[in-house]
Symmetry: C2
Subunit: 427 residues, 2 copies
């Protein structure tokens, strides 16, 4: 990354801007946003490009209306507000995240990253700071992927515009096309100017809740995310012979369910035995045919979700998977299919370094960590220098009405984000 060498010291304006982050304003905005799609139980139902999400976008636009602001929207309906810098021809610094939720989500998730970004701009206004580069706050479209598949559509299309046509054809459960939903987003924010996908960005920092228990358990208020884990998804199908549960002696069976359960148990035990804190190994789906109480199963299909920050460990675990399954080759026929794989994303060392200087200035306990979940930053890191900043998730819960983070952590996150963005915008 050219011209980015501010890692050991923050700009004077950066430190000054931090103090203008307002606790009340941040929390009020966060709560107001949670009202769009808000549920009686405290949860939020605001899937991508639904009426609730479009109303949330309109409300966001109403939060930044000064002459220094211009709203934009791109062909994937990514919504962007730009606070103009003193040298508007330079590539802007960007922050943001997404405001869509799972069918039922909590009040924070990606919405925190968007609100934190807006609070940064308010703080700069209050501090009377004009940055050299413009600062963009982005609302990525359809990160969750629960309404339209795949997830992170907006950030993916931003970094890889050639993928947009396929995304436009994606349909939700009711048969509505993403393209139609996207056009509704254009109509909802008519004042937003069109901007091309993949325009140049100087650096990107995304704030987000951790969605895991690591920081809470470690007593850290902030987390500097240096990487997103690599992931491989497998589907394993075990074939047996369907037969009557009452008439078939145990020795004469080829019981797909018993064999598959033994595989799941053995593989899970082997994964745990590696005692690698960074390893994630999950069997989340286990589907049985015919699934009748008194019929021996003739087929089981189960999934494996494997993640690790190091590609070499993913390769080793895949080899282990094949070796352990092969021990059952005498008992049954099985197949392994790779559904998806993505190498680890390593964030930019310079952006990480700027972020660490900013985090240190807050004086709260912090850590470096790897993100276990996907984020828009994963695709944006392919486009420009990027990093992420995490605040803790209470009990590690997310995608749930119980999702929560201490307000003091939300505020300190916005402070660190402010200092980092201002520093990056000067370079």
């Amino acid at each position: 990354m050219n011209g980015l060498h501010a890692s050991d010291t923050l700009a004077v304006d950066a430190v000054r801007a931090m103090s203008h982050v307002q606790d009340d304003r941040l929390v009020q905005m966060q709560r107001a946003l949670a009202g769009f799609g808000g549920r009686d139980d405290g949860g939020v139902s605001r899937e991508a490009l639904t009426a609730a999400e479009l109303a949330a976008r309109q409300w966001l636009c109403s939060q930044l209306t000064g002459v220094q602001y211009q709203w934009y929207i791109d062909d994937a309906a990514n919504l962007i507000v730009r606070r103009q810098g003193s040298e508007p021809k330079l590539a802007p610094v960007m922050t943001g995240s997404h405001v869509d939720t799972q069918p039922v989500g909590g009040w924070l998730d990606g919405a925190y990253g968007v609100i934190a970004g807006i609070e940064v701009l308010h703080a700069l206004d209050d501090a009377g700071i004009r940055t050299r580069r413009s600062i963009d706050v982005v609302v990525w479209t359809n990160e969750e992927g629960s309404r339209f598949s795949p997830g992170a559509m907006g950030s993916c299309a931003f970094s890889y515009p050639s993928r947009l046509p396929a995304f436009l054809a994606a349909q939700d459960a009711s048969g509505q096309c993403f393209e139609v939903a996207r056009d509704a987003a254009f109509d909802a924010t008519p004042h937003a100017r069109r901007i091309p996908l993949g325009y140049p960005i100087h650096a990107y920092i995304e704030a987000h809740i951790e969605q895991g228990p690591v920081m809470e358990n470690g007593g850290q208020s902030l987390g500097i995310v240096t990487a997103i884990q690599g992931v491989r998804w497998y589907e394993i199908t075990v074939h047996g012979n369907s037969a009557h549960a009452g008439t078939t002696p145990l020795a004469a069976r080829q019981d797909a369910l018993f064999i598959a359960a033994t595989m799941v148990s053995e593989l899970g035990t082997a994964a745990a035995a590696r005692r690698d804190d960074a390893l994630r190994w999950t069997v989340g789906r286990f589907e049985v045919s015919p699934g009748s109480i008194n019929t021996i199963a003739d087929r089981v299909t189960f999934s494996v979700d494997l993640r690790h920050p190091q590609e070499s460990v993913l390769v080793a675990m895949e080899a282990l998977l094949h070796r352990m399954l092969a021990q059952h080759r005498g008992a049954c026929r099985y197949e392994v299919r790779t559904l998806m794989q993505r190498a680890p994303t390593l964030f930019d060392a310079n952006v990480v370094s700027v972020l660490e200087s900013a985090v240190q200035k807050t004086t709260v306990p912090y850590c470096h960590l790897t993100s276990g979940a996907f984020h828009d930053a994963m695709y944006i890191a392919d486009h420009c220098p990027a990093a992420m900043l995490f605040v803790p998730s209470k009990k590690g819960i997310s995608h749930n009405v119980a999702e929560d983070t201490d307000v003091t952590d939300l505020v300190v996150g916005a402070r660190a984000l402010t200092a980092a963005l201002v520093t990056l915008s000067i370079t």
Copy 2:
């Protein structure tokens, strides 16, 4: 059982009648019956009281029309043909089975027991034998239980008439009541006189395919069934904590799927380690919530189908189940619910003895065995002395288009049935 002492020697008429069983007639009838609900792939779709099953009943009525025959139907639509004996006031000897199938079944199953019974009557006609007691051939209603639950409704209602009202209210998947379907059976066979449920029976023998591989593996053509296994059905629910597969360290998880799979594997291994050929242990259902590839499961519900001819073993296995599950009490919360239990059915020693004498007369290899599947004979054994006669199932397959038995075994089964019924009808 009073007056039944013919176990060591068969009646002269019994031996003579055996020789009048005709291979071609038996097979022709069996194939003709398979035409009702017959499928292009060789399977049979003839669920209880459907148009196909009612047409099959009408066709059965057309097979026995002489003056010596009277057709009856009871309040559960059990259809009975009686070949009148010389002392019609004595309780009749009964044979038969059912002609309903699973949604897709094979050509034999219970239909074999009905056709074998009709062939016995044809053989007696050809031999010019008039038995002392009448011989009834019965078609029990809804044995499979796939259209209306529970199974073996007709034979259960016959032995326990007080259960009929609850059965009449049972609905199929389309919402039609059993009562309406039963009334259609009355309309389909208007010449059949009404007969009360639970009328006195002197003795009952049901011929059926084995539906398991034991006889084929042992090289036996006939099997004398001395008991039906006892059964216990359990539903085990394992509770975990739903969390993100990417963010939650292995050590911080309460993974219901991994724990449940380990339980299934351990329990199945322990059952197999008992090396008890008569033990049946099956997990056929395993349902995961939420069942998402990248979410740790918060709940798994799995079934256990436990069977054994000895009640004491069922008790011991249930205790083992509880002990083994308890080893996981530190890792998760779980519940065990008993869905069903039925003690073993022991068939009548005298009827078994008569049947063995008849089987020996055929000179084919035979065995004694326990039925692993339920049959109508299970309920009829509560009403009168009863036993069953099995012919082998190729590869143990049933409820499947591939269900098959050598024609020579079908014929020898009908011969043994003839000799046994004639002997019982004399006493």
